[in-house]
């Protein structure tokens, strides 16, 4: 009963016309930010924070606006993944795997609607989960120590091998390159810089966004130049948008399962949306088996990562609100916003500031419905931005990428680095080495290493510490099975599919 009275407080705040308007504006801006490569949700939200001050918004309104932008960006990321094969943000990376092939097969509209619905299911379930379980779930964070985190990341890497490419060795090389790049920067456990060549710009390591935009968007530009614009893969035509009822129905269970996986990944501090969408995709892929055709543009391959990453976005709010530990980059920015508004997230937030928490939850629910409306019937509006001819679009995308990346740290070094990654991406694609494992290596490798190093410090280098709890043993078993099983099954099953064209 308490839940309903709390929700009533929340809706009372969130349903005022002004707040509602903020939610709609936030969703719209967020979707555009998400759709543009280089502008991820975290810098999108960061750029907009000053706006809330200039507008003189109170705490709740500011929070409503910013979380709408956050959820909107999580929705929007899929648009350029599907239409351009360039992930709009990190978590949308996995959506390129099936979304783009589907779009190329002339079903761009279906892919967008399906992924919009999947996003809705993921985000909606996560918001409900946040509402019902937040205080309880906060306890989960206490169960995860360095050994458990290491096992979790290992699980992600173990399934990577089975992930893609018609050449396993190339996928392995790609993930090793990613891991190597992840090592760059100041080592947290000794305070010493590694592989930086004394260059201060590299002390904090390489930002994922720089790598993503370089490997995908800039590499695409090089291909475009090489082919003089002919046979470019950019700019898939979008014809009529209809609702693919059959596909949505068929992937119903996928969405539910992926939402659960994504939500759990989001709740764990330090895992976040990218891991959520990755694990959701990989678990669905293994459930479907080789017959599922993952990687060729199947509906379930689109539904899984989208439900997963949106659920993770909601899940990431759990540790932020209850512990003050941001579960992802964007929630770190939201945390900053909260602190600036004199709200200290933590175990007492739910009891001390119920109007903030429940106002936020209610507005998330509202934002979700607004986003569903914006992203399904009105998806054409967003698509129009991206459906200009390639010779106009590509320079535009490049320009936005440069602005977006520059806004990360305000340094031209990142721009050079991005172009460097573009060259790398071009060469690798020529060699038929997949680029997705590289990003995952960068994204997860640093965390995995940190977890291992911390575990070793705590245990005096005793490696049995890694198997010292029920959680870590379970994760290890799943990881080993996930790694070994495909090797034995390969002879029985057909050749795995390629991930990119």
């Amino acid at each position: 009963m308490e839940l309903f009275s709390n929700l009533a407080i929340g809706f009372d705040i969130a349903l005022s016309p002004y707040t509602l308007m903020l939610a709609v504006i936030g969703c719209f801006i967020g979707t555009i930010i998400g759709a543009l490569p280089g502008l991820g949700p975290s810098n999108g939200v960061a750029i907009l924070i000053p706006l809330t001050f200039t507008m003189g918004l109170d705490a709740t309104s500011a929070l409503v606006l910013m979380t709408s932008v956050y959820y909107g960006a999580m929705y929007g990321g899929r648009i350029s993944s599907i239409l351009l094969n360039i992930p709009g943000d990190e978590p949308a990376l996995m959506t390129t795997l099936d979304g783009y092939p589907m779009a190329k097969a002339g079903r761009a509209g279906d892919a967008l609607v399906l992924s919009g619905v999947a996003s809705f299911v993921g985000a909606f379930l996560a918001t409900v989960g946040l509402m019902l379980l937040a205080p309880m779930l906060a306890q989960v964070a206490f169960l995860f120590g360095p050994a458990e985190y290491f096992a979790l990341y290992l699980l992600a890497f173990a399934t990577l091998g089975g992930m893609a490419s018609n050449n396993q060795a190339k996928a392995a090389i790609a993930s090793c390159i990613g891991l190597g790049i992840a090592m760059i920067g100041v080592d947290n456990n000794s305070g010493l810089p590694r592989l930086t060549g004394g260059n201060m710009h590299l002390f904090d390591g390489i930002d994922f966004l720089v790598a993503i935009v370089g490997l995908f968007a800039i590499a695409e530009v090089f291909f475009f130049i090489e082919s003089h614009g002919k046979n470019t893969s950019i700019g898939v035509k979008l014809e009529k948008v209809t609702i693919p009822v059959k596909d949505i129905m068929a992937s119903g269970w996928t969405m539910l399962r992926s939402s659960v996986v994504g939500f759990i990944a989001g709740v764990l501090p330090g895992a976040g949306a990218s891991l959520g969408s990755f694990l959701a995709y990989m678990s669905e892929k293994s459930i479907a088996g080789e017959k599922g055709g993952f990687g060729t543009g199947v509906p379930r391959g689109i539904a899984a990562p989208e439900a997963g990453n949106n659920a993770a976005a909601g899940g990431a709010l759990v540790p932020m609100l209850t512990l003050g530990v941001p579960g992802s980059g964007t929630t770190a920015v939201l945390l900053a916003l909260l602190m600036t508004l004199n709200i200290t997230p933590g175990p007492m937030l739910f009891t001390e500031r119920p109007e903030v928490v429940w106002g936020l939850i209610a507005s998330l629910l509202i934002a979700n419905f607004v986003l569903l409306l914006m992203n399904v019937p009105m998806v054409k509006i967003f698509v129009k931005v991206l459906s200009v001819p390639p010779w106009v679009l590509l320079p535009g995308v490049t320009m936005i990428s440069f602005v977006g990346i520059y806004s990360l740290s305000g340094s031209y070094f990142d721009l050079l680095l991005m172009v460097g990654f573009g060259v790398l991406g071009y060469v690798l694609r020529k060699l038929d080495v997949p680029t997705v494992p590289i990003i995952l290596g960068i994204l997860l490798g640093g965390h995995m290493e940190d977890a291992l190093r911390r575990a070793m410090v705590l245990s005096n280098g005793d490696w049995t510490f890694l198997f010292s709890s029920g959680i870590s043993i379970t994760l290890w078993i799943i990881a080993v099975v996930g790694f070994v099983a495909p090797m034995f099954l390969r002879n029985i099953l057909k050749k795995p599919q390629r991930i990119t064209d």
Binding site: I32, I33, L36, V45, A46, I47, I49, P50, L51, F53, A141, F142, L143, F144, G145, P146, V186, N188, N189, G191, G198, M200, H201, F203, D204, P269, G270, L323, G324, V325, P326, G329, A332, V333, L335, A336, T340, N342, I343, T344, G346, P347, M348, L349, K384, V385, S387, V388, L393, G396, M399, I400, V403, Y406, S407, G410, S411, R454, L458, N460
Partner: protein, 322 residues
């Protein structure tokens, strides 16, 4: 076709607007990504300066993450040395890194520290169910088995959160401080979850990081590293009264470029003083667990110089730097 092109351009123009700086507004560089203490300093101080009318236009916050603040420091020294409209967020972490020569040869006297208007008292906390009731219980446990106690903190190895327990143990006469384990995780709240979860025995951090967990009863603070007990947290004993004379606070303040005129320097010092005196700042401090700590102008510069040489000596002694 042209309509579409126009739309695309308009969209990018709108998005670009947020990132560009108005030419005349003052700028505050937060040398970290949004979300941390430096970002908070810039945004909060910037907002209050505008609200109370100390500046005419809202202060533009730029995030320039990199090298633990080193990138922003180098940028200010080499490219903005005479920019009178520039302030940069700083804290104890800035002086610690300068002392440990972690900014690639940059030194503290290449900028002017204009003032600090609040400090986050250092704290040592244990989980609520921990057997250690006081700082001395913990110290005895370390003496008995230096490798048996692990600390977690939000800064990297050698950072301020790591130095705090080392300073305490050193004053308490522990010989082998290097054997004490420390893991640096992503922020104070994360360090607390590791400690409450039982993976580490104690957490070294700032008061602001533990406020929520203190209220919820998950952790117990066994020492605060200030001269006097902190208002609002009178039940937490200082390390000093437990016989360990260590004072370590994480001040929040600003530095400005070296090359600006004394008048401009004084202008920022005055503005900072105005913020310190404002009710808005008092409210912000209370909400974030900051204790009053106002030092502006030349007074603050000499304080920072003192801290830098102290930390340098200490870091050498305990082997963090050569």
């Amino acid at each position: 076709m042209t309509k579409r092109l126009f739309k695309a351009l308009a969209t990018s123009a709108i998005l670009g607007l947020g990132a560009t700086t108005a030419a005349t507004a003052a700028e505050c560089i937060a040398p970290a990504n949004p979300g941390g203490g430096w970002d908070f300093t810039c945004r909060q101080i910037g907002k209050i300066m505008y609200d109370i009318g100390a500046v005419e236009k809202p202060i533009q916050v730029t995030n320039m993450a990199g090298a633990g603040g080193g990138l922003a420091f180098t940028h200010v020294v080499s490219e903005r040395n005479d920019d009178a409209d520039l302030i940069v967020a700083a804290s104890s972490a800035t002086s610690t890194r300068l002392a440990q020569n972690a900014y690639a040869g940059m030194t503290a006297d290449q900028v002017r520290f204009v003032g600090a208007i609040g400090a986050d008292p250092g704290v040592i906390v244990v989980a609520a169910d921990s057997p250690y009731q006081s700082l001395n219980d913990l110290i005895e446990a370390v003496k008995a088995d230096p490798g048996g106690i692990a600390f977690a903190g939000g800064s990297a190895v050698g950072g301020f959160d790591h130095l705090k327990p080392l300073m305490i143990l050193q004053r308490a006469g522990v010989e082998d401080v290097k054997a004490v384990k420390y893991i640096g995780v992503d922020g104070g709240a994360d360090a607390i979850t590791q400690t409450v979860g039982g993976f580490t025995q104690a957490m070294s951090g700032d008061m602001s990081e533990i406020v929520g967990f203190l209220k919820s009863g998950d952790v117990r603070a066994i020492a605060v590293l200030t001269e006097e007990r902190v208002p609002g947290f009178e039940d937490i004993p200082t390390a000093k009264e437990q016989g360990i004379d260590v004072v370590a606070v994480n001040w929040r303040g600003l530095y400005v470029p070296k090359g600006i005129s004394d008048d401009d320097f004084q202008k920022w010092a005055d503005r900072l003083q105005q913020v310190a005196d404002s009710d808005e700042w008092k409210e912000a401090m209370a909400a974030n667990g900051l204790a009053p700590f106002t030092k502006v102008g030349n007074d603050f510069q000499s304080y920072v110089d003192g801290v830098v040489s102290e930390i340098r000596a200490l870091s050498k002694e305990i082997g963090v730097i050569q």
